[in-house]
């Protein structure tokens, strides 16, 4: 697998099937990662540097747009605003609850948990529904028009429904993620099924496969790469929806912290939280890419990274 970066050998039937030799230590890969990190640091540094410059020249008001060194410098101070759970309880003071560091961890974990739960539920439900729609004509006729109708509805519009159905807590936030992803992913599943290479299906048919075998053994593996791509593209959407759900009071979490920062006019807290969300979204995408690589072992790595 480590050989995927070597050039493909000329296309000839005479080539011995030994495969290209494996390198002893992946120095090339290490250098590549180091280079990517360097550019990443440079890009963020440039952005932060310009911001700092604006502050130094007095162009931006530090009360409204505190530069990075200010809001990062006050991390410890800001962290106590995280995990707002206890604050809504009668008799609990601002100082009560976990230590500031643990408060940040709790808040991050609760938001992450909602996104993750929502993603898993939406992915499973959507694939099942999409495959069922293509498999059973009657099911398609009964459900597809409704799904197509609901797909363009903005997830924000579902927010009241989420609160009616689930009240406050994890339920409505997870529901929002599922609703934001489900309809799109059902439609994507159907499109993917239509795009399955006909030859693969025909091969299975000539070998006497039943309809069920064709779906289980050919269609589902064939659509997984495309669906994973859709999942990754919707990941950021899921994060946005969770933040909105949290901000409008259906629970605690990063969205709630942003709301708190707004209400208490605390720009440092806003920017600190935005930074945190950015890092989280990025790491999530990275993790999902690793999962994708493991799960879709047959898709060439160049294709996956290009997606």
């Amino acid at each position: 697998m480590a050989s995927s970066s070597t050039n493909p050998l000329p296309d000839t039937a005479l080539r011995p099937a030994g495969g290209p030799p494996f390198g002893s230590l992946p120095w090339a890969a290490i250098a590549q990662v180091a280079q990517r990190l360097l550019w990443g640091a440079l890009s963020i540094g440039l952005f932060a540097g310009l911001w700092e410059l604006c502050w130094a020249l007095g162009w931006s008001d530090p009360k409204l747009l505190p530069p990075p060194h200010v809001f990062i410098g006050s991390i410890v101070d800001q962290a106590k605003f995280f995990n707002t759970v206890n604050r809504w309880q009668i008799g609990a003071g601002v100082g009560s609850g976990p230590s500031p560091a643990m408060a940040v961890v709790y808040t991050v974990l609760s938001s992450t948990g909602r996104v993750l739960t929502g993603l898993v539920i939406a992915f499973t439900l959507a694939i099942t529904t999409g495959v069922a729609i293509r498999y059973f004509k009657l099911f398609e006729r009964l459900t597809l028009p409704t799904i197509t109708l609901l797909a363009p509805v903005s997830p924000i519009a579902w927010l009241p429904v989420a609160i009616f159905l689930f009240g406050i807590g994890n339920g409505p936030a997870v529901f929002m993620v599922v609703v934001a992803l489900f309809f799109h992913m059902v439609l994507a599943t159907i499109t993917q099924i239509e795009g399955v290479n006909r030859n693969l299906i025909n091969v299975a048919r000539t070998m006497g496969a039943t309809k069920r075998q064709i779906y289980a053994r050919v269609v589902i593996p064939a659509i997984l790469p495309g669906l994973f791509m859709v999942l990754r593209m919707n990941l950021f959407g899921a994060w946005m929806v969770v933040l909105i759900a949290e901000a409008t009071g259906v629970g605690y979490g990063l969205g709630q912290v942003i709301m708190l920062a707004r209400n208490t006019f605390n720009p440092s807290l806003v920017f600190f939280t935005i930074g945190l969300i950015g890092v989280l979204g990025f790491s999530f995408d990275f993790l999902l890419r690793q999962v994708q690589r493991k799960l879709l072992y047959w898709v060439p790595r160049e294709v996956l990274s290009g997606l």
């Binding site: 039937a13 099937a17 299975a204 072992y297 047959w298």
Partner: protein
């Protein structure tokens, strides 16, 4: 279907086509006729090349014989039985790679057996034997994307052979390969054909390929595809493709095909002018 009198045929024949017609999207405004009145008898272990201009429906005929598509008129029989559905007895090999990319080579080769619920060790043994016949024993555990184009097509042939087919249907299987690989693959195919005892129907638009491989070459007209003529290739095997006889056959086939290509072009231009 039975109401029409059908020219008699032997139940020993590997494939029999009688007035086979195919119209795609029948009964809709987009309907177009791909094949008309195809009559063809293929003997057991005979090698037939189907030659014609592109779009003449020769691939369609393979799909019909495979049972993947239903005929619009006429009938097809294989060893006396009417063709109504796909069967492992008639394997189709496609132009592009049709290996399952998520399965290893041996799992690909034994895919048909796994559909029948054959246990893994038995399947692996069958795959080993089939791969040995195409000279790829050492590629058992590789994945398709680790193989070259020629090797992938050999795996596809091994997968077809593992089903012990009586008829091998090949839809321009070597079209995507470079010239040297193609020549190797032709030799390889002739070996497989001889040892398997199967009949081969081989779609190509290369005259050289048809002359090198086939016992008989079926030349198609342009759309809708009809059998223009059937040219027997009576060259002894192994064939000397530079002999005057081979050269004469190539000239003859080129002339036959040129008419049809010209006609197809004129039609397309007339359509574009409309």
């Amino acid at each position: 279907m039975a109401s029409k009198p059908v020219r008699p045929f032997s139940s020993k024949d590997a494939v029999v086509c009688r007035s086979v017609g195919k119209t795609w999207a029948e009964g809709t405004p987009r309907a177009h006729e791909a094949l008309r009145g195809i009559d063809l008898d293929v003997a057991p272990n005979e090698f037939i090349a189907l030659l014609g201009p592109s779009g003449c429906g020769k691939s369609t005929l393979l799909y019909l014989i495979a049972g993947l598509e239903a005929v619009s008129g006429g009938g097809i029989w294989s060893f006396g039985d009417p063709v109504e559905a796909p069967s492992p007895e008639r394997s189709l090999i496609f132009q592009e790679t049709s290996l399952f990319p998520w399965l290893s080579v041996w799992q690909n080769v034994s895919f048909g057996l796994s559909l029948q619920g054959v246990p893994a060790d038995e399947r692996k043994e069958a795959a080993r034997r089939a791969l040995a016949r195409v000279g790829l024993s050492e590629a058992m555990d590789k994945r398709p994307d680790e193989l070259s184009g020629g090797m992938r097509q050999r795996v596809a042939v091994a997968r077809a052979l593992a089903m012990r087919p009586k008829v091998l249907l090949m839809d321009e299987p070597f079209a995507a390969l470079d010239v040297q690989t193609r020549a190797k693959m032709q030799d390889f195919l002739l070996d497989v054909w001889r040892s398997s005892g199967a009949s081969v129907l081989f779609v190509t638009h290369h005259i050289d390929e048809a002359v090198a491989l086939a016992d008989r070459v079926v030349v198609f007209t342009s759309r809708p595809g009809r059998v223009k003529t059937i040219v027997p290739i009576d060259l002894p095997r192994p064939r000397d493709l530079f002999s005057p006889e081979a050269e004469a056959l190539r000239r003859h086939l080129t002339a036959l095909l040129q008419d049809e290509v010209d006609r197809a072009f004129a039609e397309q231009e007339a359509l574009a002018a409309e």
